[in-house]
């Protein structure tokens, strides 16, 4: 028998760590979503499919600018020393994922704006003809498509993986301390972006492509979840205790029902039937995928804070 009694009762760390509420999961979700949009947009630009998948190439990046701003707004709300936020940009700390992230986010904005400028949305072009002329000049040189595509893919991968590494670099929280978390969050962000495109695109061909891409990503997510849990469950006692949080512990129901069941398996089945033309494409599967992405961040952030090294 081991019994610990402590006089410490500090806010945010006792009885269990609870430093991050809704803001960080929302920030991670929106960041992953933007990363996914950038990678899909970049891929279609590089493979010269921008004419058939215009929504993914040009419309979604314009939405991404807003999503990224919302995400950074959520991050700002989480800060306890808000007026000092500018300190992020007075230094670069190579060992800090958050420092990497803040600089990556600074590069993401110009890449997205440049992509949007390649084909300015019609209402904006009507109001600002100069922007329309700029689009025409940029599109007349294929080199700019390659630049935008390459930048979007590179920055999208960095941003997507960063949202996972931000947590996985924190060795004090065994549930997060897995190298699988970066690729998992990247796959989830890509899946969210594909689902979003599937939902909003008016082009049948684009929706079909995005649904197939999303199915592949959902399968990948399941595989990565398997690797994450197997890795934790077959590691040392601390990691095993972390795995038990979602394998019989307090986060089991929300994890398996919301994240795996409703967020991955059900939409995977529905979309698989849709791409085989057994049923029609609807917004149900994409909405479930996106809700699953939100649930994933909330569950992982909350459960990770409940996992700790035993101080004995």
């Amino acid at each position: 028998m081991i019994e610990l009694t402590t006089t410490r009762a500090n806010e945010l760390v006792d009885p269990l760590l609870h430093v991050w509420g809704w803001e960080i999961p929302v920030y991670l979700f929106l960041g992953g979503w933007v990363a996914g949009i950038m990678i899909l947009s970049g891929w279609f630009l590089l493979t010269d499919r921008s004419r058939s998948v215009r929504c993914s190439c040009y419309l979604m990046p314009s939405v991404a600018i807003g999503l990224l701003s919302l995400g950074m707004g959520a991050l700002f709300l989480d800060l306890e020393h808000k007026l000092y936020v500018w300190r992020l940009y007075t230094t670069f700390e190579a060992t800090s994922p958050m420092s990497w992230g803040s600089w990556i986010l600074l590069l993401v904005y110009p890449a997205l704006v440049f992509t949007v400028l390649l084909r300015v949305p019609a209402p904006v072009a009507e109001r600002f003809p100069a922007l329309d002329r700029l689009s025409e000049r940029l599109l007349s040189r294929p080199r700019w498509l390659w630049v935008a595509g390459g930048a979007n893919i590179a920055l999208g991968i960095l941003l997507g993986i960063y949202t996972g590494i931000l947590l996985s670099a924190l060795g004090a929280r065994p549930l997060w301390n897995s190298s699988v978390l970066g690729p998992l969050f990247l796959a989830s962000g890509l899946s969210t972006a594909a689902a979003f495109g599937h939902m909003v695109s008016r082009e049948v061909e684009e929706r079909e492509i995005l649904a197939r891409v999303d199915n592949f990503l959902l399968g990948g997510e399941l595989a990565l979840f398997g690797l994450l849990l197997v890795g934790l469950a077959t590691s040392g006692e601390v990691a095993q205790a972390a795995a038990r949080l979602v394998l019989g512990g307090p986060y089991t129901a929300v994890f398996w029902v919301l994240v795996i069941g409703l967020g991955i398996v059900l939409p995977l089945v529905v979309q698989s039937l849709a791409v085989r033309h057994v049923i029609r494409h609807t917004v149900v599967a994409p909405l479930l995928v996106m809700a699953g992405g939100v649930a994933l961040r909330f569950v992982i952030v909350a459960a990770g804070q409940a996992s700790q090294w035993p101080v004995l």
Binding site: M1, I2, E3, L4, T5, T6, T7, R8, A9, N10, E11, L12, V13, D14, L17, V19, W20, D78, L79, E80, H81, K82, Y84, V85, R87, L88, T90, T91, E93, T95, S96, P97, M98, S99, G101, S102, L166, A169, L170, G171, A172, R173, Q305, Q308, W309, P310, V311, L312
Partner: protein
């Protein structure tokens, strides 16, 4: 550069909390928060029970994860005694350092910045001991330079059986509990 450390004799500590009160007074620690605290650990089964009383605080680790994850350099290892310190003017209150610390030794000051034990560096620079060490009525706390083999801390750690907290986390904690 010195590498300050603390050795706490758990066979002498009675858990009186003088160290906690001294710290709060010396450092004007806000109400409801503490930079050091008392842990009582009972092990075994009756009648073979063993009690260890520990005065715990930031371990001023050799490999501090709180410093590595800080995005602004607010958490840093200072040059006077290799202590892990926080510059409130650089801290944005992102709380990554709180999540990175396996000892949960940090908290957020009501003014918004991360806060923790400083080993009373302001007193050290005046040649004084940390407040908690100075007031301990059982003289169970010893403070000194771990890199100086002649220091009391080095001699105690070398001579006495001791343990640190969660050494398997790889942080290199510099508080040693003598048993």
């Amino acid at each position: 550069m010195a590498r300050f450390a603390m050795a706490i004799d758990t066979t002498r500590c009675v858990g009186c909390m003088d160290c906690v009160v001294a710290c709060k007074t010396e450092n004007d620690v806000p109400e409801g928060l503490c930079r050091d605290w008392i842990v009582q650990e009972a092990r075994g089964a009756f009648p073979d029970l063993r009690l260890e009383i520990r005065s715990e605080r930031c371990n001023h680790c050799d490999h501090p994860p709180c410093v590595h994850c800080c995005p602004t350099g607010a958490s840093h290892v200072e040059s006077f005694g290799s202590l892990v310190e926080i510059d409130p003017k650089l801290c944005i209150g992102c709380k990554a350092c709180l999540a990175a610390c396996p000892y949960d030794a940090r908290t957020i000051h009501p003014d918004g910045y991360a806060d923790k034990c400083t080993f009373c560096i302001h007193r050290l620079k005046e040649g004084l001991e940390p407040a908690c060490v100075a007031v301990c009525p059982t003289h169970c706390m010893h403070f000194g330079d771990l890199d100086d083999p002649a220091s009391e801390v080095s001699r105690l750690v070398a001579a006495r059986r001791n343990h640190s907290l969660i050494p398997e986390a790889g942080t290199g904690p510099r508080i040693f509990f003598l048993t």
